[in-house]
Amino acid sequence: MKVLITGISSRLGRMVALELLDGDHQVLGIDRRHWPDAPSGIEMVRADIRKRPAEDVFRKSRPDAVIHLATVTHLSRRTEDRQRINLVGTRTIIEHCATYGVGQAVFVGRHTYYGADAESPLYHTEAEPPMAVTTYPELADLVAADLFAGSALWRVPELDTVVLRMAYLLGPSRAGTLAAYLGGQRVPTVLGFDPLFQFIHEKDAARAIVLALSKRLRGVFNVTGPPPVPLSLLIKATGRKNLPVLEPFFNGFTGRFGLPSLPPGAVNHVKYPVVVDGAAFREATGFEPDFDEIQTMEAFAAVDDRWR
């Protein structure tokens, strides 16, 4: 199968590309960023997904499937730019898929779209609306992109569209939201709260994406790895120090004193759990994570020790 990965130079993009190469697929990639040591089998185009050169890849190569990873998830990025890339990018991908007869599209989002709130249940299913728009306004464009991607299911019915909502990625690459939060020696938490955190080893995540493709999934699915663990345990197991902060001072502390900078809305995600139910995906694909919670946390901690 000929698979186009947008955002291929991201950590996850690279892992998905390698996983596809292992499965004897032909891999194409589009990204604004370099991937200096990309394997020779991968055809790279440096372009913005919203621009003409990107469309030319669809026109010339006619991929069988697209994995859309070109979303900006760094919340420190300027909002308008992010919204354009995330929403217009998603729209462009859907349109190109329809125009150039792509058979499958995989959109990869996050489990945090369900939102963390005192009144939100553990184990969100796909039937629930993504409440993060209210609990974490900074995520609004990503939530909208996720819902918009799902609309391809009825707007382009001949395209097999799957939207994946992934638990936090964790692993040796130290990339992603959770890795950034756990990046420093001391991890700020809110005093009196210890929510469950759900994560998946980055290699399992890459494997799950390829599995969604090979099983030709349609629909919206949560993707989970091992069972969730309390934040305090996550901090301890990754060799960090828990720094509980009184809630009124939390946003004042983050971004200073060597602590990670977090957007104001993130405080809910440090107080309350976002735990999703990945049963539908496992049933549809037979997916089982290779890495359990201990191996995943250790994989993250081990690399970091070498870096220090």
């Binding site: 005192a118 249940p121 184990y123 009196g192 709260f193 969730p228 309390p230 345990l233 309350y272 759990p273």
Partner: protein
């Protein structure tokens, strides 16, 4: 750490016998922690045994395993009844059961309360939680009177207020047996004479109870729990409100008769001197 200081042998043995799938960290998939359970119930056990001297009747009606809904009356004031019923399910049911209360929404917003309740399986009372836990063969504890129930004043003691119907629809759709129970003594333990409404709004609590001696601290009054045999209802939860309300009323009447039985027991026990003076039930 903390556990070593407070751990109670009987509690520890009971927690070890619980039918909960703990992993290597002593955590279940909901984040319920073995260590936290031991600490939590070790702190409640002295209240259960010595302070409220809880007597349990009909513990044999508590199902050994599988999905169960414990449904009872809420006493006014602080939810002493909830804590004591949970302790009785652990210490007086054989085999021990972990009761999982469906907690008022405000509790999860409070620091420490949020942390502890999530580690000992006392989750916010959401239908999603109840349904998932029942399908996982857990034992739920539900007070269908909700905050309307704990908000009762002393003058309204043991008068059941309106029951919600959510619990019955869930029991029908998940095919769960209901074990009605009555908690007696809670109303005398914290006689609530008025509520501070403005202060309650400030801390986002439904009410703050005030007793004749001002502080809402429960008195050391002996309490009793009466469990009834399980009730099962036919249906799938899509029945009309009239049908469901009829079923709810059957549960409610069973609890009322347990309350009558309990209060009669209490009067007899006072006469015979089984429970101490100063615990008169003057109605």
């Amino acid at each position: 750490m903390m556990r070593r200081w407070v751990a109670d042998d009987e509690v520890e043995a009971a927690v070890d016998r619980l039918d909960i799938p703990f992993n290597r960290y002593g955590l279940d998939p909901y984040g319920i922690s073995r260590d936290h359970l031991v600490t939590f119930f070790s702190m409640l056990a002295p209240f259960y045994r010595n302070y409220f001297k809880v007597r349990v009747f009909g513990a044999e009606h508590i199902p050994d395993a599988g999905r169960t809904m414990m449904i009872g009356n809420h006493s006014g004031g602080l939810p002493v009844d909830g804590a004591m019923v949970l302790t009785s399910l652990l210490l007086d049911a054989t085999p021990p059961r972990l009761g999982q209360g469906m907690v008022e929404k405000f509790a999860n917003r409070w620091p420490f309360v949020s942390h502890w309740f999530s580690r000992v399986g006392q989750f916010t009372g959401l239908p999603e939680h109840a349904e998932r836990l029942l399908n996982d063969e857990r034992c739920l504890m539900v007070f269908p009177e909700g905050a309307r129930g704990t908000g009762k004043l002393y003058k309204d003691r043991y008068q059941l207020v309106r029951f919600g119907t959510g619990f019955m629809r869930l029991a029908l759709s998940t095919n769960t047996p209901i074990v009605p129970f009555a908690f007696i003594g809670g109303e005398e333990a914290i006689p609530t004479i008025l509520h501070l409404k403005r202060l309650a709004r400030m801390v986002k609590a439904p009410y703050i109870p005030i007793s004749p001696y001002i502080l809402p601290v429960p008195l050391p009054i002996s309490c009793q729990i009466f469990y009834s045999e399980p009730m099962e209802f036919e249906g799938d939860g899509t029945e009309t409100d009239e049908v469901v309300l009829g079923y709810v009323d059957q549960v409610r009447r069973r609890i009322e008769s347990l309350i009558d039985e309990g209060r009669q027991w209490r009067r007899d026990a006072l006469d015979k001197g089984i429970i101490g003076a100063g615990e008169e039930d003057k109605s």
